[in-house]
């Protein structure tokens, strides 16, 4: 064995040292980024915009025509769910109004005739172990737009906020950033010169101290 020629790694292998170091460091950072952004609801959920059985335009109804949210989502102030309106609600108007192309309305008419529901696709979907109550929020000056965005500008509704636990907590910890006068809750376009000042005042006024207890949302 003494005689035999030793195997020697080629010279360039020495540069591997730096390469390995680099890979390790970059790899760690990359993983961190993936977890932080790639997997966060901000990335995965925001912008979710499923096709709906009826091409109903909030921009048209809530925006142009300026119909109040509560005309359709009647229960939002009393109940946990902001109920999706029954077909009847559509027909209230559309029995005599048939502007625009009326094919759009066919499913609605069918549903009205058959009594079978229109199966809307849920956009804002919380996990099943999360219990969100609309009435508790809209009655305390949390605007529709704060969570659902400018629905009145959306042709087809999509999700604008991550609806992640962290996102909920942000508001429960610092409600002043989002509070508005109760009468402005359904005002999509509400803005204020100095949100923080107003927010703090309203927080006082409505005596709002949101809980971050687990059982507030998880039961």
């Amino acid at each position: 064995m003494q005689g035999s020629r030793p195997f020697v790694f080629p010279r360039w292998t020495n540069s591997l040292r730096t390469l390995i170091a680099a890979v390790v460091i970059v790899g760690v950072l990359y993983a961190a980024l993936v977890v932080a952004y790639g997997a966060s609801p901000q990335t995965t959920d925001v912008g979710y915009q499923p096709e709906q059985p009826v091409t109903y335009s909030h921009a048209k109804h809530a925006g142009e025509l300026g119909i109040d949210c509560r005309y359709c989502h009647t229960t939002v102030e009393q109940a946990a769910h902001a109920a999706i309106p029954p077909t009847q609600t559509c027909m209230n108007c559309h029995t005599n109004i048939t502007i625009g192309n009326s094919e759009k309305l066919t499913p609605v008419r069918e549903s009205n005739a058959s009594g079978m529901p229109i199966e809307w696709v849920r956009v804002h979907d919380l996990p099943d172990y999360v219990y969100f109550n609309h009435s508790a929020h809209v009655r305390r000056g949390v605007g529709c737009a704060s969570c659902h965005g400018r629905v009145d500008k959306m042709e087809l509704v999509h999700q604008v906020e991550p609806l992640s636990m962290g996102w909920c907590l942000d508001c429960h910890r610092r409600p002043e950033r989002h509070l508005r006068p109760v009468k402005e809750v359904f005002n999509m376009g509400y803005t204020t010169a100095n949100q923080l000042v107003d927010g703090r005042r309203l927080k006082e006024l409505y005596n709002i101290n949101p809980s971050t207890d687990c059982s507030t949302c998880h039961r």
Partner: protein
Amino acid sequence: MTTLPAHKMLLDTTHEDPTRRAPLVLGDHDFGSVTETVCRIVERPKPPRAWYVAFAVSVSLTGVLVGLILYLFVTGVGVWGVNNPVGWGWAIVNFVFWVGIGHAGTLISAILFLFRQKWRTGINRFAEAMTIFAVICAGVWPGIHVGRAWLAYWLAPYPNQMQVWPNFRSPLVWDAVAVGTYFLVSLMFWYMGMIPDLATIRDRAVTRIRQMVYGLLALGWRGSNRQWLRYERAYLLLAALATPLVLSVHSVVSFDFAVAQLPGWHTTIFPPYFVAGAIFSGFAMVMTLAIPARQFFGLKDIITMRHLENIAKIILVTGSMVGYGYGLEFFIAWYSGNSYESFAFLNRALGPYAWAYWIMVTCNVAVPQLFWFRKCRTNVWVLLGACILVNVGMWFERFVIVVSSLSSDFLPSSWGYFSPTAVDIMMLVGSFGLFFTLFLLFLRYIPMVAMAEVKSVMPQALMEGTGHRPLGDYWGDMPHPEQRHKAVDAEARS
């Protein structure tokens, strides 16, 4: 000066004489022959048939373990015998058992190194290997024993969209951190110790593939003294860090119990007594592995009877500590006047789990007392038998602590009995399979003795007259080369 004839004194490796200790390496070895002896094992093309048999068995058992883990994941932890009130069963028992085993390695390496106990050199390498593998076996359990293993990563404090953090008050978090750290540090310690030896194998390697593989692993070690300088310093530092770590790890494991308020768990004596127990079981396992190893691979000259005897002495000491712990628990229970506490221990000794308790006491307290007798300390069969019993006993210690305490705590209405299922049993067996699989691979491919370190304690490494001394003070520890040769001749003549 003793009256024994020189050669007797020198060759009876168990002979003790404060002024003249027996040598650590027997036979007429020089650096080359030591290298040869150790490397031969790794380099021989084919291992003994026994190796293949053992390996086959171990691998299939590992398969069983893996299969059962999958079954567990799809079905639920209900496949075990655990229930209410006994929420922790064999999974945790096995975890503590294996972590305990995993202590001797680093302990031998680190603490003995710090204390300049040069007899460690013969055994530290595979003691460390044993540690790594034992910790791997231990690591399996906490992971799979949780109900939703796929969420176990929530124990890690990483920023997440829930904005929720782990609860650092929980001993389980301490546990995860401690065991994780322990594994990493042990691994580095082990690998670092191996670098020079890997280089040796690299340089002796004949086949290209071996040259490349060991070449890669040796990281281009050149044995240069400037390297040795930092290497030794780093090694010393690691040893210095690992020593408190070893002690902390099992203390933390004991917190899993001591921090709870369950009678029989909530005991301040746990940390020291767990550490002692860990060392105890760890050394027992080292012995269990060392004896066959030196037998099969002809290492009797390097892992000498003196090594085994020293281990036996440690087992005797730690065993007695553990026994003292058992006694003290009862005293405290009685002395504290806490009725729940007193019952917990009364119940251990006389309750439905008395059988387990008495197995534990017999194996852990009675058996080691054999080692008071030299005859037993120097008889491999006694050593082997005793050490296996000790391991059994230590498994039962954990069983008694975990199960008997849980089965009857505060409300008699909720007392319940735990009985293992087939899955429990097969998984324990399987974990042994995993352990031995890894260990056999180690024996096959990695020098099981730290050659460089052994060489450094050989007489040739010692320079008369120069005033230079390898690794601390050698007076009396090494017979002078001439003396040795004389003795050997004497031996030959008689």
